[in-house]
Symmetry: C2
Subunit: 655 residues, 2 copies
């Protein structure tokens, strides 16, 4: 047993691939970047400030729709109760504080990431963790779709001419984000830092100006007031709870940092906790500030004009500061999708290690990111965007349910965690988590009840479907692992190897045939060439491509020291006689290797002109577990146009 | 060298394939029928009466649009010149007679089929024959599209509720015809015999009744007269020629029988010539009869009501006989597409033998038909139907140009043929063919000029494109053939075979690994297992699926007598280290075989869960012509759920 160190540029010593392949590969390499060593990825990891754009945009951009959701619910009870937004926001911020404290504890307890999934797997076992994972997958996908569509709709408000192209623009934005993520998260995080800072600093400044000394508090707001003139609904505990639950959509994304701990630079735990604090502070300040301004400016929901836009307009007037921050909101809403691209691929890799999803999701791509998870997330959210035609309104009812299921499970799991480990002050910690679990559970139930027909049923269908899939996949891997004897040491191979018969299907006498026969002789002394002759005297496609005359005569003339079996058939298929021939030999107790000669033309487009036998024969033998199928390729690109020596050796490297 | 006779049901002795494959294959087998021996296809060949539905429907159904096309052209000069339809039809029938005589001579001279292509190849050489072939391909495709859309539009006239589903109905009809043809032409021909007979006998009877004693000559016709009240165009030689050329669309399909001679029962030439006569007689009688009735009933073109329908209504009234024959016209129009399915695949097989199209087109399918040609024709005409949304009007301007180019070339070629061979009365024969060539050439030019902007430009683009493709493909095959040394006898393989190194990429110690190592030892004494270890300590997807612990330790414990190379890499790719390892060994002058262990799960849907290494490694090595890539499969279906002996032997047949 020896260790080898694979060094240098990967694959650099391989012979050049055909041109067309190189062109495609080169374009892709340009988009995604060269392969990275794992040691190079350290610099791709992120700092707390970078962590805000990379993992927290989902949460931060919630201010664009969270406060409005509260006001819309309250408005059903008339303008007189709109002032309740302030106590409700206080309650939400209190919940935010609980969540931030809880998730800082989660980061400490689970530094390898995974958030709700890891916590509930650890404390509740497999079944509950599958619920958490399914909920998170649904919510990650929805976050991408909601953020991109909201961002594009904001763009469309500025440039109405784009409105007919909403879906293509959404998909274009998604494609850009996908490619940036395939390049590695750090690149993406750095790319998104500037607009995030403009958004955070600008909006906080606007809130401050508004609270202290608004420039233009009586600015004329476009749109129409959407408050019921008569109370449609009596003020009730249920209404307040509904408003609270609706406002909780502002809390989606708070968990993303805990899921993405391994993405941070070392010491990752410290940096992740710092980011979580930063997020909690900024989001809480924004929510409270906006609620205060709601009261100060007597804001009520309007059609065609968001609450956030009203507040900003009232605070600084509809001037340059308003437009700059509005545009940054557009941009960060679109980029909030990046939060999910930082989260779902890591979650999928954890699920793959538990055998709940195909193992490919645990594979890193050339850029050391979990590229398969990135691709799947891109495809699922693209499907969602196309299905709702890029309309955010259709997505909102499905949104936030998944993440609140995750909150509940994570915090419930932490209660169990404290109960089991009982560190100092475990009772108080468990109480904080328990309170959070109860409140988020209640919110989840209210979400489901009030939004069911509006779209929440999709989540109710999707989450169990994912769980079903996880279980089927795990059951299969368990069966397959048992069948493969994993974990046991197999018996030693027989000392005396079997006899091996190499069967070479040939259609003509050519350099390709000679090359294949030579390779076959290197594998075994027992080689037999087979060819199929049709009783109807029709040629096969491959035999067409031969010299005129009978292959038997040419074979005799060539006399390569290998017998040629001419299989006669009345059927059209050339595969069946070869398979029958193999089956007949199989009974003799031989190892059978079928060595299919294939031409590798210089350009992709020429491939349709060759190797028809390879296609059908490989397909026919693919499911046979008693035959080894080998392809012996002969490249045509570097062959001389005018054949000089004619020998099959010229296509091989000198030895 | 021995001869073996492949007998019995094809592939019956192979082990059963996994369930899902069998279900798909079984459904397809049910649709298309069991494989046929070539000896069984004799009964699939056709008689002259069967030849009418199989090869002549295109020509016969032309009566549904040919006379109308003449009247539409004449109507531009006012109602006063409509009587010119009779002399023009006489001229067309005279041309029909010339064509029938000419093509009977073609059948005699070229009994192997091929029509315009074979004749022009023989007499004008490769370049002109490529023009003929391209024209025929365009026209075959147009015939399918025009016939199906016309048939469906007729159906839509009867059932207006179907009108919104025109394209799906067109594609459905196309699918049915395609499957019938994949079953073999004879099946199709028999299936179409009854409606063809109803159409021929019914329409001839209606014409007879109309000429002798119409039931209801003053029937009220729906639709509006579409004759110019003022002459839009003066009566001129050009107008008459245009009307003549338009009416010549009734002659499309006359050549199909000559192209399909090999489809007839022996004696094929006699039967084909008889069919050609039968076609000429029936078509001529119909055209003349309809022209006579046009005069008798003073028919003029109407919107929403075809000329043929007007004549039938006037002859027998709009009663049961009218509806039965109308429906049979609908049906045979749709089935006229079958003419092309009898022609294009045979033409494509001839082109494949001349290396103008990929060789696959010369391959017969299980039912002994040229199934690849059938598939391509179906796809091209489906694309055409979708492009024009099933609207016949959009297709008519492209129609008939291709076939008239073919007529001209075939008859011109026959002139050369007579000139060269000079049999008895060769001057008169050459004169007949020469006259036909000139008239069809003039018609072609008039078609191109008058229809160019209406759609004929598509043909002007498509025909040279096909010719370009033919030449590129032929040039490639010539280069490839030279590079492969076809026609030369290669040198004998070396007497002393090379040393062979078998490289087995492994990810764990399991039955699969043991199976692969055993197969490798059967191929060579030099076997090395390689595994990739990531510096970042990440698992690969396949190694995930292994026992916990280090593979090196397990390997040492197992000790299969084969060294394990642990390749350490900092990159994510597991392929590059293996390729580098192979490249390093290649310099030692070894034959290198990469033996990839693959799991063959029992159901297709489980395939995504396995063999990720196989996918990427096969793709990476596919273009290498210095490495033989072999897959050693291990079926999982018949393995015991609870492992009994755990040995790799249990998955092999006893020997």
């Amino acid at each position: 047993m020896t260790e080898r160190q694979g060094g240098g540029e990967a694959g650099s010593s391989a012979p050049p691939a055909p041109l067309s392949y190189r062109a495609v590969a080169g374009t892709w390499r340009f988009l995604v970047g060269r392969p990275l060593r794992s040691s190079e990825t350290q610099k791709e990891r992120i700092t707390p400030v970078q962590g805000l754009p990379a993992l927290s945009l989902d949460a931060l951009t919630s201010v664009a729709y969270g406060p409005e959701a509260i006001l819309v619910v309250l408005a059903a009870a008339g303008a007189g109760v709109l002032h309740l937004i302030f106590p409700i926001t206080v309650a939400i911020v209190a919940l935010l504080v609980i969540l931030v404290i809880s998730y800082r504890q989660v980061i400490d307890a689970y530094p390898t990431g995974g958030g709700a999934y890891a916590v509930s797997r650890d404390n509740f076992g497999a079944n509950v963790s599958q619920l958490a994972a399914a909920s998170l997958i649904v919510d990650y996908t929805l976050t991408v779709a909601v953020s991109i569509s909201a961002g594009v709709q904001q763009l469309v408000s500025s440039f109405p001419s784009v409105s007919s192209e909403t879906v293509p623009v959404c998909l274009g934005v998604l494609a850009v984000i996908t490619v940036l993520n395939l390049r590695g998260l750090g690149d993406s995080a750095r790319a998104f830092l500037l607009p995030t800072m403009v958004f955070i600093v600008g909006l906080l400044a606007i809130i401050l100006v508004g609270l202290v000394h608004p420039f233009d508090p009586h600015v004329r707001q476009p749109g129409h007031v959407a408050v019921a003139t008569h109370s449609l609904e009596a003020l009730s505990v249920l209404l307040v709870l509904k408003a609270f639950a609706a406002g909780c959509s502002a809390l989606t994304g708070v968990e993303a940092i805990a899921n993405g701990v391994p993405l941070f630079r070392d010491p990752a735990v410290v940096r992740a906790k710092r980011t979580e604090m930063l997020l909690g502070g900024i989001l809480g300040a924004m929510l409270l500030g906006l609620a205060g301004l709601d009261l100060k400016f007597h804001i009520s929901p309007r059609s065609g004009q968001t609450v956030l836009s009203q507040i900003m307009g009232a605070a600084v007037g509809r001037h340059w500061a308003y437009y700059i921050v509005s545009l940054s909101i557009t941009l960060v809403l679109a980029l909030a999708a990046n939060t999910s691209f930082g989260g779902l691929p890591v979650l999928a890799s954890l699920l793959a290690r538990d055998h709940y999803v195909p193992h490919v999701f645990a594979l890193r791509g050339d850029r050391q990111v979990f590229s398969n998870g990135i691709w799947v997330l891109a495809l699922m959210s693209a499907a969602l965007l196309v299905a709702v035609q890029g309309n955010t309104e259709s997505l909102i009812p499905m949104f936030a349910i998944g993440v609140f299921i995750g909150f509940t499970l994570a915090q419930g799991g932490m209660v169990v965690h404290w109960w089991r480990h009982r560190p100092a002050r475990w009772r108080r910690r468990a109480a904080v988590n328990g309170l959070g679990a109860v409140v988020t559970a209640v919110s989840t139930v209210i979400f489901l009840v009030t939004k069911f027909t509006g779209g929440a049923w999709v989540v109710v269908v999707a989450v169990p479907s994912f769980i079903f899939l996880f279980r089927r996949i795990e059951a299969y891997y368990t069966r397959a692992g048992r069948a493969l004897g994993l974990g046991t040491i197999p018996p030693k191979p027989k000392a005396e190897p079997d006899r091996t018969l190499v069967v070479v299907p040939v259609a003509n006498v050519s350099r390709l045939t000679a090359h294949a026969i030579e390779e076959a002789l290197a594998l075994s002394e027992e080689v037999v060439a087979v060819t199929v002759r049709h009783a109807s005297d029709d040629h096969t496609a491959d035999s067409l491509f031969g010299a005129p005359g009978d292959i038997s005569d040419q074979w005799a003339q060539w006399d390569p020291g290998v017998p040629l079996e001419v299989l006669s058939t009345e059927y059209a298929s050339v595969v069946d006689p070869i398979v029958e021939f193999i089956d007949a030999r199989r009974c003799d107790g031989l190892e059978i290797v079928v060595l299919i000669p294939v031409v590798v033309p210089g350009r992709i487009r020429y491939r349709v002109l060759h190797n028809h036998l390879d296609l059908v024969l490989s397909a026919a033998l693919r499911h046979r577990n008693d035959v080894v199928v080998a392809r012996v390729p002969l490249g045509l690109e570097d062959l001389p146009t005018h054949q000089a020596d004619g020998g099959p050796r010229s296509s091989r490297k000198s030895r």
